[in-house]
């Protein structure tokens, strides 16, 4: 089976937005955006890492764009951006996000994240197998 190229999604998140989420109230909104596993890998000895969080949020939105799902919010908690054994970011889908990927015919998603100064940018690319005739 051969993988065929699929869709591409991109998103940018200003670090200022993440600073706002961290300091606003009791951080309740942050817990609706990041899973416990993501919050765990976003922590440093100095506290939460705004760059890492901005990158994860950008990646989640970039992945959501692959689904072409209109009329529904981003499945933030069901789209987890974690680290592979090699340190590369990897996507773990569950629940509604996994269902949207299946509906879109997506079998694999690769992402790349970059940060510089005030912004984090993420790109997501999907692929699926070509059925052999």
């Amino acid at each position: 089976m051969t993988l065929r190229p699929g869709r591409i999604g991109i998103d940018v998140v200003p670090l200022s937005r993440v600073h706002g989420l961290i300091v606003d109230g009791d951080g309740a909104a942050l817990h609706r955006l990041l899973s416990a596993a993501e919050l765990s890998v976003s922590r440093t000895p100095d506290g939460l890492d705004p760059s890492g969080i901005a990158g994860r949020l950008a990646a989640k939105e970039a992945v959501f764009k692959l689904f072409h799902a209109a009329g529904q919010p981003v499945p933030w908690l069901a789209t987890e951006i974690l680290k592979s054994a090699g340190g590369w970011p990897e996507v773990r889908l569950s629940g509604r996000a996994a269902r949207l990927a299946e509906l879109a015919g997506i079998e694999r998603i690769d992402i790349s994240i970059t940060h510089d100064e005030a912004y984090a940018i993420a790109v997501a690319v999907s692929a699926a197998h070509i059925a052999e005739l």
Binding site: V13, R17, L21, D24, G25, A28, A29, R32, L33, L57, E61, F64, G71, Q72, P73, V74, P75, W76, L77, A78, G95, R96
Partner: protein, 81 residues
Amino acid sequence: MASAGIEKVRDWILGRHPERTELAEDVRLLDSRLVDSLSFVELVYVIEDASGAEIDFDSIDLEDFQTVAAIERAFFARGES
């Protein structure tokens, strides 16, 4: 007369947009990006706090959040005759 709860929601949206002094009830909040995908999560939290309702994020109908009037109908009109 608008409820105190929906006014709290309206004030929160206006607080994020200091360039605006008012927000009509039929302005499309999501389409105009007055509320984007990140701030949508905060908006849901503000509505829950103001209304006492618990909102299931996975069964949300975005039309209930498109305007201040829609938010009021969906979350602040219960029990009124």
